[in-house]
């Protein structure tokens, strides 16, 4: 199975520059792992003020409402994507993303 090389912070920077694609094949491989069932954190983005504020939430099983995280509050979708990427990078590689 493909594993993420935590030294490839260049791929993280590529994502930060352009979170909504198109991505290089190498970055796409990283995203496939971060978003896959094995590592899926079931994240959801909840807009709390139209066009202005979003918070992350964690989806719950059994039809229960998602758990919303009040902090941080994002003011752009790009910021939210980058935050989720960093969280998952650390969870999957065991190393904090140092960029």
């Amino acid at each position: 199975m493909f594993t993420i090389d935590p030294r490839r912070t260049d791929l993280a920077l590529e994502f930060k520059r352009c979170p909504f694609g198109p991505h290089s094949p190498e970055l796409q491989a990283v995203l496939n792992v971060l978003r896959s069932a094995r590592h899926c954190q079931n994240l959801l983005l909840v807009c709390t003020r139209p066009h202005a504020e979003w918070v992350l939430a964690e989806k719950q099983p059994d039809g229960r409402p998602p758990r919303l995280f009040s902090d941080p509050v994002f003011t752009t979708l790009e910021d939210a994507e980058w935050h989720a990427f960093r969280l998952r990078w650390e969870a999957v590689t065991g190393e904090k993303l140092a960029v």
Binding site: G21, L45, L56, D62, P65
Partner: protein, 732 residues
């Protein structure tokens, strides 16, 4: 963190009205009575934010405008059969209950509760009797004569989900004894399960008078004159019977009248009933052997009903307001905007069609109300799933969407699964709908407002008609219109709707298909359930869930469900293109093809010098995105159709759809596959009309760029102007 949810909800009936006609609004508040403000507005543009036109509404003067006080209106979700006043059961103390059942949710988690198969049990009075699955999922008999005299006997052995059983209860209330039998039917499973039989004593109980008998639920009580139910069964019940000493008291034939809500008793005792909340019929029964797939050809193998504890047809709310639409109201998309302190506004969308018998505008916008309904109360993205892998970004919702997760009784969409994991194949507009509105996640109607806003900006007069009108009235609805514009994602169609659009083209009509993934799924409108559609996600396609084997035929019409392309009516034949790919992160652009220089297409490109079209837009920053259609002669794209532009350079998130590949293969995403593209198509119709198709849902999001002065807007206006010209098109 608790989100701020709407505090007032509502729905309208009917869906579309003409000026001078009345419409009813059913309004309910959440968390107790409260004041709310109501106003009817014509909606012109959705809340695109600062990058687009933004929310534009125009008030409609009606007496509803102002402050009101509302109260909660509860919803009794969960399907069942109700047999009213079964007098023959009164005084009955010795009887046998029998049925074949296939439970689908045993036990009910996370909060175990009984699931009723049949009986007269009433939770509020604790009287009557019922054959149930108990909290653990074992067969049980429940009986009582008030709160001080109750009994329950159980086999103590939980049933296995999705296995068929024959279950029997031989009851003698007078003698105080019951024998329960749960016998798994032979199937192809490797695991063997022994039958269970239990005989136990009961306290002697008097026979209670039964108000009603239920299959699949029991009575919870009556509030405000309305019946409420509980202990809903999840799964199938087949051939339920009640007998005494070998004589039938009730013998329900669930294969009879499948297309209706009628339930027929063959015992001669006339214990006929009605289904409530539209459980799924035309489902395989305990004896289905796979030799027939069509319930009409082997009804004896389709003698079951599949009940769900979250089925919902009609919320049944009391009308709060009845409004007569002013005679001078213009046709359009309207909404009752409700707002209570402490929550965001709630939008109850409805449609005002042109005055009956009055001159029509030359252009009709055909609102995709079948598709809006198919997506109504979409929960799937708020449930654990790998959605992010096909979206290509974090799934996004707002706090109005979240309301669904706090109120499961509002029901789901056809993209959701029931609590037992089976697909939702019935959806109804007779309930509050959270996601057909001009705010929130950009999809469906939200996106279609970009087209209406553009028509307004062009000063183009237009009427609004709906899929529901088209289904009901056929091509006559479109008589008098020169041009019909679809929405950006007209995905769901009945046969009657397709026939009407074909008929329109046959009368020299001009059709502008303004989107992607259109004319894809077959739906039907059950005549027994006005306001509801039926869908069977059969066989193939990009499916939120897969239809159960043997259940591909609609219960309401007997039609074979699934994709129109699998039924000889691929969208390519109607509009030149059909669905090929989807992705939801970033949109792309079109590049003109050599065919765009064909003299037949010259009118389209007058004043458009650019090679690249639509490299801008509100929905993913490009005109080609979200869901894409391409031409395909093998599926019926007319030989003379001109592909005047095609999109390119799509992101990795765009994947070729599975019905486009017989064998899964690598390299099928937008970075590798040239098949991942939108084709913009024009062709003439032999009757003198013509078709223009954009092939992309995101297209309409480019119309407003640079103050509506851009190549997508110009191209679309060129097409619209020529299509409005009555001069017939000639076949090449």
């Amino acid at each position: 963190m608790m989100p701020l949810l709407p505090r007032v909800l509502g729905y309208a009936n009917p869906l579309s009205v003409a000026p001078g006609e009345t419409i009813r609004f059913m309004v309910g508040t959440l968390d107790g009575p409260r004041r709310y403000r109501a106003e009817i507005v014509r909606v012109i543009s959705s809340d695109t934010g600062p990058g687009g036109p933004g929310l534009k509404t125009e008030p409609l003067r009606t007496p509803i405008t102002g402050e009101h006080v509302g109260s909660p209106q509860p919803i009794d979700a969960g399907s069942y059969v109700r047999v009213p006043n079964p007098a023959v059961l009164t005084g009955l103390t010795r009887f046998t209950l029998e049925a074949y059942i296939q439970p689908t949710r045993v036990p009910v988690r996370p909060a175990p509760r009984p699931q009723a198969i049949m009986g007269t049990w009433a939770e509020d009075t604790q009287e009557g009797w019922a054959l149930v699955l108990d909290e653990a999922g074992a067969l049980a008999f429940q009986a009582g004569a008030g709160t001080d005299a109750q009994a329950r006997v159980s086999t103590g052995r939980p049933l296995t989900a999705r296995r068929w059983y024959r279950v029997t209860a031989m009851v003698d209330l007078g003698a105080g004894a019951v024998t329960l039998d749960q016998a798994p039917l032979p199937d192809h499973a490797v695991t063997v399960e022994a039958p269970a039989r239990v005989t136990a004593g009961l306290p002697a109980l008097p026979a209670a008078a039964a108000d009603d008998l239920f299959l699949g639920a029991v009575r919870r009580g009556v509030e405000g004159g309305r019946l409420f139910t509980t202990w809903h069964f999840n799964g199938k019940i087949d051939r339920p019977t009640i007998s005494r000493d070998g004589e039938s008291i009730a013998r329900w034939d669930l294969a009879a009248d499948i297309a209706t809500d009628h339930v027929t008793d063959r015992s001669g005792q006339r214990l006929h009933g009605r289904t409530v909340n539209a459980p799924k019929r035309a489902v395989t029964g305990h004896n289905w052997d796979g030799t027939e797939m069509d319930w009409r050809r082997a009804p004896e193998q389709y003698g079951a009903i599949h009940f769900h504890d979250d089925d919902l047809y009609d919320a049944g709310w009391t009308p709060s307001h009845t409004v007569t639409i002013p005679a001078d109201a213009r046709s359009g998309v309207y909404a009752l905007r409700l707002e209570a302190e402490g929550g965001p506004p709630f939008w109850v969308v409805f449609y005002v069609r042109p005055r009956r018998g009055a001159p029509r505008a030359p252009v009709a916008f055909l609102a995709s109300t079948a598709t809006y309904l198919a997506y109504s109360n979409y929960r799937a993205r708020m449930r654990p799933s790998p959605a992010e892998l096909y979206i290509g970004a974090l799934p996004t919702v707002d706090t109005t969407d979240l309301l669904l997760m706090y109120h499961p009784e509002l029901g789901g969409s056809t993209y959701d699964t029931h609590s037992d994991g089976s697909g939702v194949c019935h959806v109804s507009r007779l309930r509050p709908i959270v996601n057909t509105r001009p705010t929130g996640r950009p999809w469906n109607l939200f996106l279609d407002f970009s087209l209406l806003d553009w028509l307004e900006a062009q000063g183009q007069a237009y009427d609004v008609v709906t899929d529901d009108d088209l289904h009901r009235e056929g091509v006559a609805l479109l008589d008098g219109y020169r041009v019909v514009l679809t929405g950006c994602h007209p995905e769901y169609h009945s046969r009657e709707m397709l026939d009407a659009l074909e008929g329109f083209l046959g009368r020299r009509g001009r059709l502008m298909y303004m989107g992607g993934n259109g004319f894809y799924w077959r739906v039907s409108y059950p005549s027994s359930h006005p306001g509801m559609i039926e869908l069977r996600r059969a066989e193939d396609g990009t499916r939120a869930w897969a239809e159960s084997v043997g259940e591909y035929y609609h219960s309401s019409t007997g039609e074979y469900g699934g994709l129109w392309r699998r039924q000889g009516r691929a969208p390519n034949a109607l509009v030149g293109i059909g669905f090929v790919a989807q992705g939801f992160d970033r949109s792309s652009y079109y590049r003109r093809t050599p065919a765009s220089r064909d003299p037949r297409a010259r009118f389209m490109f007058e004043g458009v010098e650019d090679e690249i079209l639509g490299n801008f837009g509100l929905f993913g920053a490009g005109a080609a995105g979200l869901e894409l259609d391409a031409a395909n002669a093998a599926l019926g794209t007319p030989a003379h159709a001109l592909v005047v532009a095609s999109s390119e350079e799509h992101s990795n998130a765009f994947q070729l759809v599975n019905e486009e590949m017989n064998v899964s293969f690598a390299g099928s995403d937008g970075r590798f596959s040239a098949a991942v593209r939108a084709d913009m198509v024009f062709f003439e119709h032999p009757a003198g009309g013509a078709v223009f198709s954009t092939g992309s849902i995101a297209y309409v999001g480019s119309l407003a760029d640079k103050g509506y002065d851009n190549n997508i807007s110009r191209l679309t206006l060129n097409v619209l102007r020529r299509f409005l010209d009555p001069k017939p098109f000639s076949m090449p």
